[in-house]
Point group: C2
């Protein structure tokens, strides 16, 4: 995927940023701690279904998702599939972010 | 808690290390991805019960737990209570580590 293609897709996805040219990163904030944990669990199930696993970090009510395609050394369409699933899950749980 | 007290407790807890003088850190490895996610969920429930929340990071089947007591700027007995709960949870799920 070219830099332009990545930037175009990022522009359409609020909150997602590119880090070190190979990570798509977004921070999600939750009203309760266990809500964030539920989001992590559902994201993980989605990741298993795609066989594409993000890095996840949990700092109290803040959950950070970072995705990349190791085998390609950068961003692929699969990464954006995962970003969209995360956004849909968050939207379903917490409304728009 | 003095450095000696911390070191003594760390010696009795395999896998736990001290980082930057204020974090207790341990990495847990899981046979399946979703097993690690289950561990995270159970750890989170334990953290809620203690009202003491660790940092958690998930990199595929590797889960890293980092605990500190922000209000004290370092390690307290409560941190070791959480380390022990994590170890017991992991032991119950995966046997000894």
């Amino acid at each position: 995927m070219t830099d332009d293609q990545i930037q175009e897709r990022l522009n359409a996805r609020p909150g997602w940023t590119l880090k070190d040219d190979k990570w798509l990163v977004k921070k999600y904030r939750f009203p309760q701690y266990m809500k964030g944990i539920e989001f992590v669990q559902q994201t993980a199930m989605s990741a298993e279904a795609l066989n594409h696993h993000p890095m996840i970090s949990i700092e109290y009510r803040l959950v950070t998702i970072s995705v990349t395609t190791w085998s390609e050394g950068g961003i692929t369409a699969l990464d954006f599939e995962l970003t969209d699933r995360c956004d849909r899950l968050y939207g379903a749980m917490c409304g728009t972010d």
